[in-house]
Symmetry: D2
Subunit: 261 residues, 4 copies
């Protein structure tokens, strides 16, 4: 396909029925639009602000749901993980392992992901420059794994805001010779809220996505849920599942124009 | 036209022959692409880092060249100005007055521009939020002039870098009900260089422009010169005039796609 | 005196009685503490967010009050100004001319201040590095005036916050061979508030001041008022006049320790 | 003691002789100045930019050296660690466990440190506000451990610079009711260098320290080495061991003044 690819799903795996329902819907939409699709769901959330935030339904239970999504719809799956020993465990269930942004400098985690042989999706730290991502990429590549994706998710702008620096997308593509994904959901976070719950600006989801496609992003990362207000994590920026198809259609039109340039 | 409009020309008016040569070339290109065009040239540069930087050829001489461009090609012209009394003077020669970014909070300058009745193009300060631009806009509007354009030119990111926050483009359009222009040239500045000469990243010109068109910018601002290395000011980010046509063609394709969304 | 010096007074000159009352109080306090004192008051505010903000009681009227303070108490006075022609006018009444932070790159304003022969206090732009201040200083010095003071007033940190970078204080002292003042009041601003009224964090006034004295600041700039809540401008961060003496005593103790280092 | 306390030592444990030599020297200095002292050394470095950077001499070997320092000089010791299972291991050898700044949001790591019963020193992430540190502190406290120290180590300012926001020191002390340490060494880092080796500004070490003492920091964290140019990690900002005594004497004078305020 000459369309962008898509990593999408709920923030966290909440239950099997919901995961399958979301996957089914996105599979149908992405098939229509010829968007290569990877189902995204975290089996555990490890860096919530507060100890009483939702962290998951149990690692194995959630990972089995990810495998079930793959078996049911034939789509690859991705999850993040948070410590070196978890890489091998998660790799038994999914096709792509994602390095959280805060952890993108942790050598043991990058090497553990590399060693699974799975695709490694490294999220760029909010404190990292596009140029410095090559050191994270090199840790994976020098460990013998060249199936690497980079994900942009915004840069620290004062304490309570993030900004996407679109200069980094072509720069990271060229310097690292690997696909670059725009994480629309987390780029819109408003961190360091005194409530302990990260805020967001969901009305800007399409703005962030359009600019990414225009500058050559290869893929998009979108968290989506049929009921964002009641999602167990990160509801602030999740796209309502009902709005996904319309937005992807519009972005596909934009991508077709970009392909002509 | 349903294409974006263009403010373009040399940074400073250096001499009549050069101004006319640049104007002629851009007029031809923009006619072909149905891009409404405004010739840009500063009659004086007032905020150079160093006292020995080039500041101009004389105000009246430069302003007459701007008028000559208008008379010769029938295109409107724009210049910036730097103090309240200059507004009326400049307004005798040009069609649009531009408020420099550092001065966008200076009430007397905004009001002086408003009072000329010309179109007022307010550049957003590097220190200003998109939301706060409404106070600058209101100063012009409450002075009785509603012909207002806002120009985005990047936000302070540490001392030596600027980042374009594309969230501001739709936000400023909606909040202020006026066109928003992306200043590609100055958004790529690398300020606070110890040489006293602001640096740049010209290889990213098209990246900045594409993202702007994708998120709905109404116009683009581009400084261009047939010999950027020898331009008397701001050479670091000026687009070579020979590259303008190709880039505008590509951006026109992108704009046509955006118009369908 | 080996104590720090002080620029202090109300934000704007509101009326003669109030100005004299504030001056009298501060003169007494600073005499006791051997703090060289300069009375500060703006004769006009030119960069308020909103057109309906208070801007002044009339230039000449306010400037005469500044002269009266000088004549009455024998202390020098300082005001900011906002355009080149105003420099000579203000210089007839005051001893020090202050360049507003947003205007610190405007060559004509710096040169006009220099040409008055008065002390020129250049506030560092929120967007400027300590290293780049030498270009502003050089514009004054190369115009033949070496009576220069630099004032630090915080650096842009995201849209709605400022941070004081204390590294700049020794750097600016050494690079420019002139005194450096810490503006405690404006360093605590919270700009870009959607109300159009800049916010503040007055509980941190002494924190900002202590760190400045510790790293070698030569002077402090403090806006103070007997009734900050009813001050006509910048009330958010003004120190209550009743709290000034205690704080200056504490800072004097700190300064005595610093003098021993 | 009413002096500040000190966490100091080499960045990484390189060998026993060197560790003991550094400890002996600092013990003597801090005894003279009545500075409570904790020997600092990392048994492993886990987040170097490059895979070929020095990471350590072996965990157990390095941890035994830390214990040897404690046994030899009777001073407590501190090391950082990088994954939950390492907390219990390191706790067998040291008195204080330090959470690296990039990891200060990782719940499992905070809880693992808390569960050892050792003092937990949480470094504030470069992307975190002072206010948001309460969520990290609460994770430790709610796990039953109230022996908590917070360390400030600078905030992201653009990609290649950090700034210390001194407002956070009193704020974090008050909000969390625990001591706050200023990490002078890492606050001066210049991250994201394209060489893959983080740079520094060591001439500003005392500036950073003085401001911290002035605003009420309870402790200082300083990496020091008898030969910084040949240190195996973080040489760019390490203080030469020969300069430590003079600086601590000066800071003790400053602290005595602060104690009077």
């Amino acid at each position: 396909s000459d369309n962008f690819f898509l990593l999408a799903g709920p923030c966290a795996i909440e239950d099997e029925t919901l995961a399958l329902k979301i996957a089914e819907r996105i599979v149908r939409i992405t098939d229509d639009l010829k968007i290569p699709y990877v189902f995204k769901g975290s089996y555990r959330k490890a860096n919530r602000s507060r100890l009483d935030s939702f962290t998951g339904i149990g690692d194995e239970k959630a990972l089995k749901i990810l495998r079930k999504v793959n078996e049911t719809f034939g789509v690859p799956t991705v999850t993040d993980f948070h410590s070196a020993p978890e890489a091998a465990m998660a790799a038994e269930y999914v096709d792509m392992l994602q390095i959280p942004a805060f952890l993108c400098r942790q050598t043991d985690i990058l090497v553990a992901a590399a060693n699974t042989g799975k695709v490694v999706n490294i999220k760029k730290g909010q404190f990292l420059s596009a140029g410095a991502m090559k050191f994270a990429v090199d840790k994976v590549r020098e460990s013998g794994n060249s199936n690497i994706v980079i994900t942009e998710r915004g840069t620290t702008l004062g304490y309570q805001d993030l900004v996407v620096d679109y200069r980094g997308i072509p720069e990271m593509k060229e310097s690292n010779n690997c696909p670059v994904v725009m994480d629309i959901t987390h780029s819109l976070q408003q961190p360091n809220q005194l409530s302990g719950v990260t805020g967001g600006k969901p009305e800007l989801i399409e703005t962030i996505a359009r600019a990414a496609i225009a500058v050559g992003a290869d893929g998009l990362f979108i968290e989506t849920h049929p009921d964002p207000a009641n999602a167990k994590s990160d509801g602030a920026n999740m796209l309502h599942l009902d709005k996904l198809e319309t937005m992807l259609k519009r972005l596909t039109i934009l991508r077709q124009a970009v392909n002509q340039l």
